[in-house]
Amino acid sequence: MKGVDRMITSYEIFVPTIMGSGSSLRTGMKLRSFGCKKPLIIFDKGLKDVGIADVIVENIKSAGMEIVIFDKVLPDPPDILVEEAAEIARTENIDSIVAVGGGSSMDTAKGVNVLMNNKPPIMNYFGVQKNLLPGVPMIFIPTTSGTGSEVTNMCVITCTSRGNKDSVVSPVCLAKLAIVDPDLTLGLPPKLTAATGVDALAHAVESLTGGQSNPLSDALARDAIRTIAKWLPIAYKDGSNLEAREHMILASTFAGMAFTNALVHLGHSIGHTLGAAFHIPHGIACAIALPEVIEYTAKTESDKVRMICECLGADVEDNATYEEVGSTAREALRKLIKSVGIPNLKDLGISLEDAVNVAPKITADAGLAIAPYRITAKRIAEMIKSAYDA
């Protein structure tokens, strides 16, 4: 590359967001201001058990709404379940959707919205879709600090017939409003706090080093990394610390906004593939080889990896080589990930051989299209090996 300036970029700013402790109590009011009368409220049973769902349902009812509930959300939402929820939505003639929960609830809601006016099955719409018929207004209320899904246009669905995960990328997947209320995350247990927190971290560091990063996504990602480095260990140790929860949910939303612009790459390809092969939760699967992934990007994205080191408080000499920058970032990321008890592959009881054998599958993941430069299965296998018991 001969004296190239920063490429022309477009800033994708999709979803208006209200944020703050107690903000979820504005849901009913907001729905009414959108002119909605009959929302479909989507969540999983767990949220009902902890009492979060009931409060929001009551809040919506008190705004004079007729409600329809779909509370059968599953992790890694399967396409058939999404199609079932969409069938209910169409039959009940709902005019809006409220999703409460983690990524699975929001992905289910997005899938339902795609199918409001586009014929099922959902698998027909995997990929970037520019011409889908619009659905209904949606409000997303995250209850974890990880996915950032409330501000993205991507909907990740498990394709049961093909046995893999795929995604619909479309304006139809966008919420009309995100309501980000840290109160809803106060009861998250430490393990889930850690697993979702490192997912947000992965969004941020991959956004920063991906082929489509721009100054806006860089700024959001840097802030998210700094915040996560400082507050995730605190939220992990003391889940009732509202200040830590506030910072973490903010970082998660910022990281979501960052990767809406910049997209994620190899770390998520490894995460999706390991997750599917060994049934590892998404956040943990994405964190496993994340330090190695960022080290690999240092070859062409050395400046960005320096930023990551700086955000993590790891010192890098001015004249450091890209290898040194990469290894510093790897060590700093691993330290942070370990500090919140994220297990490695060995801890998870997976054999080295099995783990390494997944490498060729990873190279078939579409996420590699966005990686900074081409990587072979052999090199990915080396990364997995390095991460195995680290």
Partner: protein, 567 residues
């Protein structure tokens, strides 16, 4: 069993023998790569006796698979100095397959001056005939004379004076199915001059009395899969603008987004691009008794070819394609479709590549030798080529030769071969293909337009270029790319077709592996010929000058190019 025809121009003899076992399951580009790396020293003089001209059929030759009769021609390129496979439509591959001939190799050069043509008669007898009476005769007239001599059922592979004069832009022309116009070209890389260096004017193939029967591992299974495949391609073709209009339809997309090259890849837009677009083309066809939806080979369901007549309704040219129109048109600031059609005809007749020649003409405009948009001056320069003037001969050696001679700074070539009709700043994946393809700047090696996130953006471009370059390596070994484009939804079917024809596992990875192996073999050949990573770069001005249409530069990281073919 398939035959191989060996033509030894030193001994002036032809041998027909069974094809070697190692090439039995290969065809097209894959066969050429494997043959050349074993038989032609990479450092040889491309116009010397060590180089060989290879002409071959695809792996599906002789079957009913649509567009399986694409003709591949290869050798060490006189233009790029590297490996070259250039493929063409027309009826020659079909006729060769009917004769049971999978490949023809032309070796050595005659001890004494002369000109010959190879003749394959209806009984399968092969002979070398004196062609001195055809010396200096261009393709259209040559084919007429051959038709007078052998009837109109023959297929002809020939060179015009471009090849005879060893122009580095010389093409090998192939007659089109039904019309017999020599308008299908293996155009790129100067293979016409390689044929010329062998003093071989043509290969004339008669229709055999007895048609060769392909040996199948499981004929019933093959026919079943083949029917399914052909139906899928035909269904795809229905909505394909290449079928409904022709490749000229590409201009409707490229003209609006800065991909169409204008004024020697200046990066500007060309406001009058629709003057050379689909509406004008279709209006002219219908008003003048021209036609589109013409199959260039038997059994093609894409039918992208055409017959374009002049104002008086007289035949002017056929196989009139987007690249010719883009490069003689907007890239030379010309918006007169009839003038461009005339240029196409002249090039086909002389047997020179329209892409290389049009880029060479743009050099003349850039340097001020002739004015932008002056189509009459272009025709005069092409006439100089025909007359063999000093400057005409220079044009014959292509864009880089002319650009350097005239002191032009912006010379759009990679590996000495001129860029096709797509500005690499605004379809960056295509730019990556231009830079890294073993063929030199060649859009057919992996045109990524519309396949990455944003044509003028960087994201995913290298990934898409890599995927396409591999896919095209196997597509070029099996069929026409335009048919293959509609096969993407059922690639496993290709595995089934290969297995029912040759036996073994019905596994698509066999096909994909053939693509990867071909690409790596070609890269290795070029490396042995002396090419380095520095040869895998675009000209500097694409990195430096912004496209005026989009503000975009070619900003792909060198390292991304270096590791593009790490498998």
């Amino acid at each position: 069993m398939w035959s191989k025809l060996s033509i030894d121009m030193e001994k002036l003899e032809i041998k027909k023998e069974p094809i070697e076992k190692e090439y039995k399951e290969l065809g097209g580009r894959a066969l050429i790569a494997q043959y050349l790396i074993r038989n032609v020293p990479p450092t040889c003089d491309p116009l010397g006796s060590e180089n060989q001209l290879v002409i071959c059929n695809t792996i599906f030759a002789g079957t009913k698979l649509t567009t399986a009769h694409r003709l591949s021609i290869g050798g060490k390129s006189p233009l790029t100095g590297g490996i070259k496979e250039s493929n063409a439509g027309g009826n020659a591959a079909y006729q060769l397959a009917n004769q049971g001939i999978k490949m023809v190799v032309v070796k050595n050069i005659p001890k004494e001056k002369g000109l010959w043509f190879a003749h394959i008669d209806s009984k399968g007898n092969v002979s070398l005939e004196d062609a001195n009476i055809y010396k200096g005769i261009n393709n259209y007239e040559f084919v007429e004379k051959i038709n007078e001599r052998y009837g109109d059922k023959v297929a002809v592979i020939s060179i015009g004076i471009g090849g005879e004069r060893l122009y580095k832009s010389a093409s090998i022309q192939v007659t089109e199915f039904n019309s017999n116009h020599p308008s299908r070209a293996a155009a790129r890389g100067g293979l016409g001059s390689l044929m010329g260096s062998k003093c071989l004017k043509a290969i004339v193939i008669e229709n055999p009395v007895e048609k060769y029967k392909v040996e199948y591992a499981d004929e019933g299974k093959f026919n079943e899969s083949c029917l399914k495949f052909n139906k899928m391609i035909a269904a795809g073709a229905k909505k394909d603008p290449f079928h409904n209009f022709g490749t000229i339809s590409t201009i409707e997309a490229t003209g609006a987004n800065g991909i169409l090259p204008v004024d020697n890849f200046s990066g500007k837009l060309f406001p009058e691009y629709q003057e050379v677009g689909v509406n004008k083309f279709m209006t002219n066809l219908s008003a003048r008794g021209g036609r589109n939806k013409i199959p260039c080979q038997p059994g093609c369901v894409i039918q992208c070819s055409n017959c374009y007549n002049d104002k008086d309704g007289k035949y002017l040219t056929s196989g009139f394609e987007y690249e010719t129109i883009a490069l003689f048109g907007p890239n030379c600031h010309i918006s007169d479709l009839d003038a461009i059609a005339q240029m196409d005809r002249i090039c086909d007749n002389l047997g020179v590549d329209t892409i290389e020649t049009a880029n060479a003409i743009a050099m003349c405009m850039e340097s001020g030798k002739i004015n932008w948009g002056d189509s009459e001056a272009v025709i005069s320069l092409l006439k100089e080529m025909e007359d063999g003037t000093e400057f005409g001969n220079l044009i014959g050696n292509g864009c880089e030769a002319v650009g350097k001679h005239l002191g032009v700074e912006r010379i759009p070539v990679v590996k000495h071969q001129a860029l096709a009709g797509y500005d690499p700043r605004n379809t960056k994946g295509t730019g990556i293909t231009y830079a890294t393809s073993p063929m030199g700047a060649d859009h057919t090696a992996g045109l990524t337009m519309g396949r990455a996130f944003e044509d003028a953006g960087r994201t995913a471009q290298a990934y898409v270029s890599n995927k396409l370059q591999v896919a095209i390596c196997f597509s070029d070994s099996m069929m026409c790319l335009f048919a293959f484009a509609h096969a993407a939804n059922n690639l496993p079917l290709l595995g089934e077709l290969v297995a029912s024809l040759y036996g073994g596992e019905a596994d698509f990875s066999r096909v994909a592996a053939m693509g990867v192996k071909t690409l790596l073999t070609e890269r290795q050949y070029n490396k042995m010929a002396g090419m380095t990573i520095e040869d895998d770069r675009l000209p500097g001005f694409f990195y430096k000058d912004k496209s005026f249409a989009t503000g975009s530069k070619f900003d792909i990281n060198d390292y991304e190019l270096e590791v593009l073919f790490d498998f």
